[in-house]
Each structure stands twice: as C-alpha cells, then as structure tokens.
C-alpha cells in the first residue's frame, strides 16, 4: 500500500516549499517602491463615510476623502481643507465657504461647490434611517441646516434655521456628486461598503484607493495631483493583524513603519534602536458609570443609585491616582470632567476645594448621614425602606415620585458591575475598586466581564448597576455633552442620566455661536455632571504609538500635535518622506542560505532513504 512511490511523492511534496520559494524570490524583490506600511489591529468595517463605524475605517477614509472645513487640524483646531476660507454672518445663521479651485476627484473630475452642497443635502435628507453610530454623530454637525446654495462653482452658502455651534469644528467628508447621485441613499447608509469591486471609494484626498483584501491589507497609491501637495512616497499600506504580539514582532523586524501600542507593550518597545514611541493625550475617557434610570418599571438597576449621595460617596471611594498608576502604568492623566484637557477651551477642571477627593471616611460619613446604615452588622449597608431623594447642591434632581419604595431584595447595597473584556486596563482596576467599596460597606455581588456587544445590550436594557467603560469623544464637545441628555436615553446614553436643567443648557450651547458664551455654558454643564456623578471619570488614557526612523523621516511629534497622529488624519502622512537610502525589508542573503540548506538536507535525506531501500526490495 504505502510503497516506495508514496514515500517519494511525500518527499517531492516537501521539496515543493523551498524550491518554489527560491525560484520565485528573485522576482519578488525586483521592484522597489517607496512604501509606508502601517500596522493596525482590526480590519475596517466600511470605507463608505456614510456608514463606517470603526476607528480603523476612518483612519483610511480620512486619507481618501477630504472635509470642507476640517475640524481636526494638527493641533486639534479647525483648519482649511476643501474650503480654503470661510465667513460666518453676524447672527451665525449663514456660513459662506470658499472651495479650492485646483482640487480634483480621483477619477479626474474637478471638485466644485456642487459636490459640497450635494453631500450636505444627501446627509440631511435621510438622517434617521440608520440612526445608530456615526450617522447620528455626523448629523449633529448639520442638525439645524435649512438649505444649501451655490452662488457660483466655488462658493457654498449654508443656511441654518438656528445657529449651530459645532459647525465650527465639523466632522463629515465630502463625496463626489457625479458618483453618489445615482446611489440609493438608503443603500448608501446601510449596505454599501466601498469594498465592492464595482464601487471603489473615489475621493479627493491625498491617497487613491488601489486594493483591499479583507482581514489582510488595504493598499493606497499616492495622489500625485493632490491640491495640498502630493505625498512624498509612492504607496501607503495598512496591514491588519489579529494578534498584537505578531504585529509587534513584524514592527521590530522592520516590516512596519508605524503601529499603535497597548499599555502592556509600550514599555517593551521603548528604547529599541531606530524606534521612537509617543504617549500623546487623546480625546478618550475611562469611567465608572452608574445606572441612573429613573423609570423603575423599566430599569433593573439598584434604586439606591438614583440617590446622588450614594454616587457621590462612591466617587469619594475611588483613588484615581492609584488606578492610573497601577492599571494604566502611569500612561494617562487622572480624570475629572467628562470632557478631556484636549478639548482645550471647553475643558472644565475642578479647583482644589471643588475636587471630589479620595477620602474613605468622608464617603462613609455621607452614607451614614443619608441613612444607609449597616442594620444587620454583616459589613454591608442597608438602604432605608424609603429613600427621600433630596435635592442636591444644585437643586437639579427631579424625580417623578420623590419617595422611592425599596423592594426587600434590594435593601442591601450590593451592586453588579460590568466590564468590557477587551479592556485589559479596566479589568485590572476591578479588584482595587472592589476593595475600596468594601471599606465603605458596599459589595460587588456580580463581576461580569463580557464582550462589547453584551455591554451594549446590557446598557440598552438597563440591567447593570455599575460599569467600567470608555469613550473617545469628538473634538467638538456637542456630541459628548448630548450623551447625558434625556433625549439620548435609548440611543447613546449608557447611564440613563436625566436632568431637565442640564437638557436646557445643552440646547442653549448647541445654538450659541459666541465662543466665550458657549464655553461658559459648557463648563457649567461639566460641573453639574461632576457633582451629580452619573460617571466617575477615572482617567484620560494616553494614545500610545511607535514608529521607525530608519525608513522614513519627518515624523511629527504627536505629544505636541496630537491631531497630526497617523491614527486619524492626513497631516502626519503628508509630512513624511523616505530617508535617502531605502532599505528593503527582506534580508536576502540569510534567506538564500536557509532556503539552500533546506533544499540540500531534504535532497540528501530523500536520496539516502531511497538508496537504502533499493537493494532489498529488488
């Protein structure tokens, strides 16, 4: 059965590897192009700016498409993009954008004001079909647009029914009218991903889409006619990974020029030759959230969490400094407000006597005074049979029924907590938080570490008591602030916070175009949230990146210009240029030697094996 022949076949099979490998290798490395290679975890879900969700999608989209006004400049400031300049009318209701005259779409058609008008109309005409992720965020930048006019080919006038503050730093990409006008808007916002072979993404940006292979790579070609100046290299490749340590091995081996890092890997990479690491401040927050849903017929949360004093006591029991040191390894800042210091003028910071400091005895004191006593002496406090939810310092709690009857099984202050499994830092925080809560007589009864989709389910249905989660905000504070409004319950709100006073302020800042006045309102809103504690903001984690200096130069310091990071906008990509002598990524001689050795060994083995058998069988 298994004769000499089968064995020879087997060896021939083994030989296949090295021979084909050697045979083809010369041809493989023949052509040298200057190529920037970026390693990324997680393949984009879509290259269609109308329905993309993942941040890895926008990393690519922002290179293929341009915005009109670009809200995300190198210093997180609004800068000209397709609109080279703009004016706002006195009342803030008319914006006039002047479009550059030398921009073209990747298929050669010139970019005109009509394209900008078309894009805005396209978004505002069908805003609610898919009111989930990005679309609803995009729409908030256009929510009060009434109509758009084009007096000439290079001027766009946007008319607002009410002034829209966040239009100053918008986030939406301009698409070509001549391509999208034939596309059903519902399809555009649901099924089309621009990965379709017959519908590639056509933009006006610095890179032209060339090829995408799912879960492997996306290849872009430099747009040599880019109106801001062509990129100084030929190709840009995003290579996607499913395992971070593999990506880092490739990076250290010199195959990748730029990667994002996690807290664990940052120290490991630091200080290697030809490698520079950055930890730059981002727009992200990490928070301990509370279920504040006042509708007790729907909410499955613990009613004691509706009492601001309980939430405030917990806030006093969280040692943020230690969490940043231990869980984030110091790669972040201690969090206070729900906005980040990167929101610059909008950011509110509590002064020294305003701060809710880490103080366990104060936390205990607040709970004692509020009547949450350990009646049965088991170390866990009990809720009084009724909570009289009193008005807090700002007088803002407004419950439909101020007396809440506590069901017998929810008397004890035992809370469930939910954590996203993909967030190693927050999982590391869990035991510390549990310990501090124990010291103020609060128990964590369930610790659920679940996948992101389950987190979303649990949050939508109001099943949780506490949760650890995070946000990456837009640069304009509007969306971040909206998350805490009553209207967002059932949509983007995860804490079910509701406060009419806050809602009113939100509407006010939404239409306030005077920056000084808006800043004032925005700061007041942050202060309300800080003391009402729907969130305890634990940290502002840094974004961690690394790049190689042996193949490209001109890297922008991300710690100084976070907006120029290669993670989201094109500025960093445009600044890069190859160093004079580009080194090929493959180490040719060693490869040849190894391939040769394999071939020789296998041939010798095969010959010996067959030779040894021959005399006996014949």
């Amino acid at each position: 059965m298994l004769s000499k022949r089968s064995i020879s076949v087997f060896f021939a099979f083994l030989l296949l590897f090295p021979t084909v490998y050697m045979f083809g290798f010369g041809a493989v490395a023949a052509e040298e192009q200057t190529t920037l290679v970026v390693g990324v975890m997680g393949y984009p879900d879509s290259l269609n700016p109308f329905n993309a969700i993942m941040s890895s999608s926008f990393q690519v989209i922002s290179l293929i498409y341009d915005m009109a006004i670009n809200g995300y400049g190198p210093d997180n400031n609004p800068v000209p993009d397709l609109a080279e300049s703009w004016e706002v009318s006195e009342d803030g209701k008319v914006w006039t954008l002047h479009i550059v005259k030398n921009a073209t779409w990747h298929d050669g058609v010139p970019v005109t004001a009509e394209d900008v008008k078309f894009t805005i109309d396209y978004i505002i005409d069908y805003p609610y079909f898919r009111p989930d992720y990005q679309q609803s965020m995009v729409i908030s930048y256009l929510s009060t647009v009434e109509r758009v006019e084009c007096p000439d080919n290079y001027t766009v006038k946007v008319y607002f029914s009410e002034p829209l503050a966040c239009f100053r730093q918008p986030f939406f990409f301009i698409v070509p009218k001549h391509i999208w006008e034939n596309v059903d808007p519902i399809a555009a916002q649901t099924n089309i991903t621009c990965f379709e072979e017959d519908f590639p993404p056509i933009g006006s940006g610095p890179f032209i889409f060339e090829e995408a292979v799912r879960d492997q790579y996306i290849k872009l070609r430099a747009n040599k006619d880019y109106f801001m100046g062509a990129p100084k290299y030929d190709y840009l490749i995003f290579k996607y990974y499913t395992d971070e340590s593999t990506m880092i091995a490739d990076f250290l081996a010199g195959k990748l020029d730029y990667i994002d890092l996690s807290t664990e890997t940052y120290e490991q990479i630091k200080g290697q030759p030809n490698i520079v690491t950055y930890a730059y401040p981002s727009l992200s927050i990490m928070e301990l959230g509370f279920n504040c849903w006042e509708d007790l017929t729907e909410s499955k949360g613990h009613p004691a969490l509706l009492d601001t004093r309980v939430r405030r006591a917990i806030a006093h029991a969280i040692n943020k400094t230690e969490l940043v040191e231990v869980a984030l390894k110091g790669l972040g800042e201690v969090g206070q407000s729900i906005l980040t210091p990167q929101h610059k003028i909008y950011y509110w910071e509590p002064s020294e006597d305003e701060v809710i400091e880490f103080n366990l005895s104060k936390a205990n004191q607040i709970l004692d005074e509020a009547g949450y006593l350990d009646v049965d002496n088991d170390g866990i406090r009990e809720t009084p049979p009724y909570i009289l939810v009193d008005l807090n310092d700002n007088g803002v709690i407004d419950l439909p029924d101020e007396n809440i009857t506590i069901p017998e099984d929810k008397r004890e202050l035992k809370f469930s907590i939910w954590v996203d499994e993909s967030d190693a830092e927050e999982i590391a925080m869990l035991p510390l938080i549990e310990e501090w809560l124990n010291e103020i007589g609060i128990k964590l009864k369930e610790k659920n570490i679940v996948d992101s989709d389950t987190m979303i389910d649990v949050n939508l249905s109001g099943e949780m008591d506490l949760y650890l989660w995070g946000w990456g905000w837009d640069i304009d504070p509007d969306f971040a602030l909206s998350v805490f409004t009553t209207d967002q319950i059932g949509w983007w709100s995860d804490c079910f916070y509701s406060n009419p006073n806050y809602d009113e302020l939100y509407e006010k800042q939404h239409v306030e175009v005077n920056i000084t006045k808006r800043v004032e309102i925005v700061k007041e809103m942050q202060k309300i949230l800080y003391y009402d504690c729907p969130y305890v903001v634990i940290a502002y984690p840094y974004s961690l990146t690394a790049h190689r200096t042996d193949r490209f130069k001109g890297w922008i310091d991300e710690t100084e210009h976070p907006g120029a990071s290669l993670d989201f906008e094109k500025w960093g990509y445009l600044a890069l240029e190859p160093v004079e002598k580009p080194e090929g990524p493959a180490k040719m001689p060693l490869t040849w030697i190894l391939g040769g050795i394999i071939v020789i060994v296998v041939i010798i083995a095969a010959v010996l094996f067959l030779k040894k058998r021959t005399p006996k069988t014949s």
């Binding site: 879960d215 492997q216 499913t242 593999t246 979303i456």
Partner: protein, 325 residues
C-alpha cells in the same frame, strides 16, 4: 461488489437525510431564540422603528406561516442563498468564499503533513518498539501534543520573525511586494504558509502517530505476521505490505475527523499568524452577533463533516473486506 454498491448507496442516503436534519435544526434554532427574529437580524446598536421592523419582516419573509418559511429556507439553501451578513454588508456565501480557501490551504497542508508523517513515523516506531528511535519520536510527539498551539506559534514568531528575520510571520502575502509573475506570488504565499502549517502539523502529528504506532504494535503480534516472517519475507516488506494496511483502519477514522477541521479552521493558529480563515470568521460571527453568517457556517461545517464521514465509511469497506456497512 454489487452488495457493496448498494451499501454505499444506503450510506449516501443516510448522509443526505442527516444533512436535511441539520438544515431543519438550523432553521428552528434560529427561530426559537428569544426575541423577534427580525430584531435578531439587526445589529444590536440599531434602535429600530416599528416600520423598519415590519419592513424587515417582509424582506426576510418572516410574515409568512412557518411551513412556508421553512420551504423557502430549504429552497434558498440549495440555491446557495445563505442570507446577508450584516457585519460584512455582503451576501454570506461571498464572505465565506473569501475565507474558506485560506483555511483549506493552511489546514490542508498542515494536516496533510501531519497525516503522512504521522503514518510513516508511527509505522517505523512500532516496528522498532522500545528502540531509541521509538522512544525519542514518541516523547517528542507527546511534547508537541501537549503544547498550546498558539504558544508554539508565538515561539516560531519570535525565533523566525523577530530574531532570525528569515520567514514572514503574518498574513498570506506581503502587500508591499509587487509581483511580476504568478510564480513569485505563489512563492510568497508558500513562504507565508511555512510557519503556520508547520505549527499545525507539529501539534497534530501525535494524534496520527500514536494511533498508527499503537495499532501497528497490536497487529505485529498477530499470527499472520509470524507466518510471513516464517515464509522469509524481509522485515520492510512485512511492515509495509502486511502490517501497515491492516493498521490503517483506525487511522482513517482519525483522518476523517481531522479533515473536518480543514473547514472549521484552526482558530488560535489563525489568530496568532493573522491568517484570515474560517476559524477567525466563525469567531467574528459570534463576537459580532452575525447570525446569518453563523448559521451558514454551521450548515457548511456540519455538511462537510457528514460528507467526510461518508467517505471514511466508504474507504473503510475497501480497506477491510470484513467491514459490512
């Protein structure tokens, strides 16, 4: 021979019935899940309006009576319409086609090496039972068998990718290479295949090796082997012509089971080497709650396991005339 033909026919009919059972199970599994199926079909983050739900119910035919739905489902399965993946915004069949070949290549080569090498080494080790060759190879096999596959993969990544820098450790091709001909492309793919398939082969080797070795040890104590020795056949001849064919039977069963994983993929190896295959796709379908995709993967995997077993049965009858099916 005619009886055998009939038996094979019966086996095939059995397999077809089983596949139908799987299809039925798949259909109802999807419908007994809590909640409105139309809601389940939507991504979780969408808060759907009643009109949208109604529209979707009609779109997916969920407004029709159950038996009509079932008939439609069966017809669609045979037309290759496996539904629409909302995680990938594409027909499920097309998504699967993107991944299935990657898996067949990786697991096919890995398992192939493991099977061939396992049988040969197992046979030699059994023949030289107790000798240094047997002891060494058995020990090595058990060591690899006990290793977590992702760990072995990571060791390879460190050694070959990071320190020696001689083999690619991620993906299927190097996207920065510009291939001039199809040979250089094939060579690139093969280069990428070396580490993941070797990892898989080393891990899987023991299961074929141990079965082959142990069965063969049993076989070599049989009388007809002694008879063959008495007749003066050479040792090698007795081994390969008399003993091995009889020892192959249990190995065929193991191979049939192993080949099923050609389709279901080798998740951890795929993840470590960023090799997008069926294991990774299944994992993504679960994580992203892509029910239509998951349903199709279940169906294809079960159908292929059934078919693989059918072939194993048929091969069995040829290898061993004593087996009546």
């Amino acid at each position: 021979m005619r009886r055998m033909g009939k038996a094979i026919l019966m086996k095939t009919v059995n397999a077809i019935i089983t596949i139908f059972a799987v299809i039925t199970f798949n259909f109802f599994l999807f419908r007994v899940m809590p909640g409105d199926p139309a809601r389940v079909l939507l991504p979780k983050q969408v808060r759907a309006s009643p009109e949208l739900i109604e529209k979707l119910r009609r779109f997916y035919g969920l407004d029709k009576p159950l038996h009509v739905q079932f008939m439609n489902y069966v017809v669609q399965v045979f037309q290759g319409k496996l539904g629409y993946s909302f995680a990938y915004h594409e027909p499920v069949a097309r998504v699967i086609m993107d991944y299935i070949w990657n898996t067949i290549l990786l697991v096919g080569v890995g398992e192939g090496i493991a099977i061939i090498l396992g049988i040969i080494l197992g046979a030699v080790a059994a023949w030289r039972r107790g000798e240094p060759f047997d002891l060494t190879v058995t020990a090595l096999n058990l060591i690899f068998w006990s290793m977590p596959e992702f760990w072995l993969g990571m060791v390879f990544i460190l050694v070959f990718g990071r320190y020696l820098k001689i083999l690619p450790i991620s993906g299927i091709v190097d996207p920065w290479l510009f291939h001039e001909n199809v040979f250089s492309y094939v060579a690139d793919v093969l280069r990428h295949l070396i580490l993941p398939s070797t990892t898989l082969a080393l891990i899987m080797l023991a299961s074929y090796y141990m079965i082959m070795r142990n069965t063969l040890i049993d076989v070599t104590t049989e009388d007809y082997i002694r008879t063959a020795k008495a007749k003066g056949f050479s040792e090698k001849e007795i081994l390969w012509k008399h003993a091995v064919p009889n020892a192959l039977l249990p190995t065929v069963t193991t191979v049939a089971i192993g080949l099923a994983s050609v389709i279901s993929g080798a998740l951890t190896i795929e993840i470590v080497f960023s090799w997008p295959g069926m294991g990774w796709l299944t994992y993504q379908a679960i994580v992203r709650r892509d029910y239509p995709l998951l349903q199709a993967i279940f169906l294809i995997t079960s159908a292929l396991v059934i078919i693989a077993n059918l072939f194993a049965d048929i091969i069995y009858t040829y290898l061993d005339p004593r087996v009546k099916i």
